[in-house]
Subunit: 167 residues, 2 copies
Amino acid sequence: MPARRRASNTSCPSRGSNLPSHAETLAELLRGRGHRVTRQRTIVFDALRKGARAGKHLSAETVYERVRQQHPEIDRATIYRTLNFFCELGLVHQADLNGRHVFEPTGTHPHHHLLCARCGHTLVLNADALQDLARTLLRKTGFRLDARHLILPGVCAHCARAAEQTA
Amino acid sequence: MPARRRASNTSCPSRGSNLPSHAETLAELLRGRGHRVTRQRTIVFDALRKGARAGKHLSAETVYERVRQQHPEIDRATIYRTLNFFCELGLVHQADLNGRHVFEPTGTHPHHHLLCARCGHTLVLNADALQDLARTLLRKTGFRLDARHLILPGVCAHCARAAEQTA
DNA sequence: TTCTGTGCAAACGCTTTGCACGACT
DNA sequence: AGTCGTGCAAAGCGTTTGCACAGAA
């Protein structure tokens, strides 16, 4: 397999492992797979969880900023390494929001996002909204859609109304 | 409007203007909108058209390389500026393929892409395949899906078969 | 004690930008 | 002639990497 130089992390393999609900479970999971449990990994994972609870997708940079507030000694490189590591482990999904990578823990129920081009807000879209599409694709082309975390562009109801009134 | 620093070009506004079929039409269109017709713009546009004819999405870097073969004096910065310029004019669409921006002239019939995570190949998907989804979204959430050039991840029929046999 | 993971610093790839010159209108 | 677009060079941003040390096993 040719070593892709960049974007090697864009397609999280995700082995279907689900998000542990407590930090302890993270520790168990890491140890169980022969990885070490470090302060940094716990901290980064907590930051992601907090972000997810707030319905936010965090970019690597954002994670770094949040982590730094409490733990200024943790390096940017560690954040990136840890995020990619989680991604490979399937603990975290990565998506592309407006050309920027964003991360979110797996295990929050499968969903996608609707990104409004006007106001920039994102709506959560339940994953099964795409099942019809997936079925059709499979039937017609044999392509097995594996869309775990899409970000679909468009215009939200609110902005659409606003646009109509202006027109 | 707050000046977004980066990714300001990620969301091509696209005013619905269609691709001219000859270089002359490009010239007319540019002049018509009060822009200058330059050698560089014509060359870049031709490169994109050639790429599109070959069914390829070209990254800025690829466009640069192709252009450079014939016109080594044209600078990388010009390529980027010109691509963004075309994008703003709605002559070109931009999509995000595996974390890389790719460009394609508008006016090739509206379509999306299915990107196989295994072999990396892309299949073209007719745009109306998403119309059911768009309708459902509009009805349920009021969100007006405006997906002109999505790249959907998954596994192509060929790779799916190969995976089954291994399993 | 061993060896993985980290901090540090530097490099990387892609993209944008400031400036002065060149060329389209 | 006026001004937009370009080449050049440098910087920017997000991200990765080499190396030596720290700390989990």
